[in-house]
Symmetry: C2
Subunit: 202 residues, 2 copies
């Protein structure tokens, strides 16, 4: 079976491929389909965005597609930036600029009030219909400065519960096991494994 | 699709049925197959026992079977009773007697050294082969006395991390979401959902 990971973010595609690698599934990325139209992420929820991306890519490519949408919800900002995480501060911002802006906004927030939740939804769609949406959540806190060179996005300023290191400092193995995306993808992988298993048996 | 839950423990069967209820799967128990031989749980690991039970029932009944094996590993007892949890103290012991024996053994263990891990493995087998084994783990601590009337087994003396109530005091909804068995069954359910989904499409 082939499945398309509906993303052009190479770090994210690599992370997704790694998580899906134990399965007997060939993972393609949007780089393999350069002519597919860009999907506009204008949904009101993570689920809406993930479903929209997975559906559009699956329909255009005629293959099963997997898409995720995620965001970070900061307690002290009443859940912001949330669904707007990827565009926080403006489309032209780099990840680092976004992180510095968020840290600046939280400058006066004391250590015990810096809680945050990483949210992720992963949608799996077939060429003709949606198959499944799964959820992954990771609770943690926002640091006072960026730390670590791994990962992407808000990884350098987020320490998951029970860890002192940020997502950008933790090894990819540890991060993928406990992260919002890792947890959602573990569920997606189990669904796909059952799906593939059943197909193989025919 | 029909699936047999390979257990005669009615509390466990009820818990399993509840967890599998969102799926388009008819859940049967061993009560529906009174003539199936008893499976001897003599494996060295949870996985071995779960696989053995699932396989024997699936082969005898000619249907997909799901079996679990679980145990509690107490830090202060170097992981005991572990694989022997269900027979700890002797086959004739009641759950309550088992709990009292364990509490007695831990009488002098201070509060901050009473950590324990609930382990669970769930195996899914078809009539002709094994399909999948999944894992669920729940970390917590052993109380000083039994509390609560829900659940079964060691539930009254185990408080999961981040909760003050025992598994026997927590609502079934909360327990099933965070417990070792709940987590393993969530994974099993995702696998089965993909499996069923693929079958339905034919």
């Amino acid at each position: 079976m082939e499945i398309i990971v509906a993303s052009r973010n190479s770090a994210k595609v690599a992370e997704l491929m790694k998580l899906l690698s134990p399965l007997d599934i060939k993972v393609l990325s949007l780089e393999d389909f350069p002519d597919l139209p860009e999907v506009v992420e204008d949904g009101d929820t993570y689920e809406e965005n993930a479903v929209k991306k997975a559906r559009q890519v699956a329909e255009a490519a005629g293959k099963i597609a997997l898409a995720d949408d995620s965001g970070i919800e900061v307690d002290a900002l009443q859940g912001e930036p949330g669904i707007k995480s990827a565009r926080f501060g403006g489309e032209e911002f780099t990840d680092h600029e976004r992180n510095m802006k968020l840290l600046k906004m939280l400058e006066k927030v004391p250590d015990d009030e810096r809680g945050a939740t990483f949210q992720c939804r992963v949608a799996i769609a077939g060429p003709d219909k949606l198959l499944k949406v799964v959820e992954g959540i990771c609770r943690g806190a926002i640091t006072r400065e960026p730390r670590g060179g791994g990962g992407f996005g808000y990884d350098p300023i987020f320490t998951p519960v029970e860890y002192h290191q940020t997502f950008a400092e933790l090894s990819p193995e540890v991060k993928n096991r406990i992260s919002h995306r890792g947890r959602a993808l573990e569920k997606a992988a189990l669904f796909l494994e059952g799906y593939v298993y059943s197909e193989r048996k025919e």
